[in-house]
Symmetry: C2
Subunit: 128 residues, 2 copies
């Protein structure tokens, strides 16, 4: 099953996992990597690289929080370096739950595509 | 200026505000309402209603985390009850920062529409 890694500015990714678990139950094999202002970029990348290197043979989906931000740049680098790593940006509860629900049946590029599409569709104006 | 209220399952909305502040600096007039498993729906709604009632004359944008979930249902009810309240779902750092950046120049329905559009566009596959 695909491993989920959330790359966020600050520690909201950890709280998002806990909050999503209130809705869908335990989310296994998901980890958040908080980039704090005091963190050196090299150290942040190294922490993620260690997890990726340990997971050879397993698919990994990185979901970062901010398009054009450091977390997305890091995610993009890893997705280009490792064949088993795919990367999206636009993290929110919809995308995390989509990834959790869909990774049972989909993987790789196909999983990433469906999670993205779910995330976009569920962003809605509630008055329409 | 439009007030931002984040309606989330669990307390990830509060952490999201703190994390977004690491990127864009202080976000004024924004508040998160965490719906916890032990909360009665009526109490949760009442806390939000009090803030809305105190803000008559000011525009309010509610952003909830989960389409079809309780937070979105609550947001939809308030947006239908109060003319100055608009509601989106699909909360993430992109949407919060979009709302923060755009509320200086836009308000009401126009603000909601642009925040939604920004959120959707910034949800991306980082390999494309």
């Amino acid at each position: 099953m695909t491993k989920l890694l959330l790359l966020t500015h600050g520690c909201w990714g950890e709280e998002l996992i806990k909050s999503a678990e209130l809705v869908v139950g335990e989310i296994r094999d998901a980890e958040a990597f908080a980039l704090e202002p005091e963190d050196a970029l090299a150290d942040y990348m190294e922490k993620i690289r260690v997890v990726i290197e340990k997971s050879k043979g397993q698919d990994i989906l990185l979901i970062s929080d901010l398009n054009g931000g450091t977390t997305s740049n890091v995610a993009a680098v890893f997705s280009k370096t490792y064949e088993n790593v795919h990367a999206l940006c636009g993290l929110g509860m919809e995308m995390l739950i989509a990834a959790e629900e869909l990774r049972e049946e989909l993987s790789g590029k196909k999983l990433a595509k469906e999670v993205l599409s779910w995330g976009r569709e569920k962003n809605r104006d509630l008055e329409e």
